[in-house]
Amino acid sequence: MWEKVLIAADFSNSTHGRIACTDCHQGRNEVLEKEEAHEGLVIAPSAGEASACGECHASTVEKYMDSLHVTQEGYFTAFARRGGDPDGEAFHGMFEARCANCHASCGQCHVSRPDSVGGGLTHGHEFRRSPSQTNQCTACHGSRVGDEFRGKNTGIPPDVHYLGGMNCMDCHDGVELHGDGTTPDHRFANDTGPQCLDCHPTANSTDSQVTHHAMHADRVACQVCHSVPYKNCYACHVEIDRQSLRFPSEIDFRIGRNTEVTARRPFEFVLVRHIPIAPDTFDPWGLAMPDYAAVPTWRLATPHNIQRTTPQTESCGACHDSLSLFLTPAYLDDLIDRGLMDAQEIEANRPVVVESIGGP
């Protein structure tokens, strides 16, 4: 506990250190008794719309309040698309109790560890322009993205970008994370997010020197060929199967049809990840989803485990001779038989499944 509130001796020499503590944290500066000094203390002054950071960083804070890290709009979008009422008191109550831990304040990226993993100062109250991949980014985005990127899933290698010394901020910059003042419906609707083409501009061009890049330009997402198996969520949202057993996440690899076509993602085929949400997931909160099947439960995925060479790149036959890597109706039936999917998900995922593909 003491490490979480320890301030580095040289903090006072920094720009933020020259600001009086009470200017941001309130409390009482003139007394030495702990309880008295902490009267009116604001532990996290960067949180909320009254963020203390806005005093000096007004423009950034104003935009950030509309960003996905604050609004978590994707939850509301998904619920609305399934016919739920995301503006209702019941949904907000459930959200605050179960989902709101992932709200990220300015401080939880720039000076402290997120509350969801225990909080506390990370570097003696030093403010860092770039968040720490370990203490901040993967503190929240750890069990899926972080594990993929660092090669923590058994038998799955780390992302080549990680091996090359890159971290989260090399792709996900402040422009994306602070936002542009608009609120995307979800993270894949965010036009400020990174694309492979940002660093590999000719990769999906029909003029590419790589034959397979030229052939599949704009039809096949990069990850389809360059990703390897990744975690699929069975325990996050649906914890109990028919036999009342808790399923862990499962490592899998599925190619599906793109149901989130945009100018940035014009692809026909993408990787999809199972994010199970059962028709009765929100029943304990009295929340219904009358259009449950309106949204697939196999959703667009961009696994952070990129490899130059994968089983998919070994030959054209990896994809064109077999549907073994694809999300097929038979595959869904098997998941239902194993108790990992609900039968209602068949209808929900009809736009995603692949029943056949053309030859090379």
Partner: protein
Amino acid sequence: MIANSQPSASVSLTRYVVFTKLAAASTAVVALWLAGCGGNPLDPQPSATASDCVGCHTDEALLRKVARSETPPVEDAGEG
């Protein structure tokens, strides 16, 4: 006959020793007070030189003494 009021050498020495010890003890008490240790070394107080929050929060020894016991960490509620 005027009485000899000068103390004997042994008495003077004794008084000198007592005075010296008292002076040393007084100095120590004042020094401890200035150090802000108060009357109970097991209940540390911040240094009297600490004038604001930073004075306490940069004092690792003090924080170790007064830190609350840790509550169990929140189960990782990340995106999965």
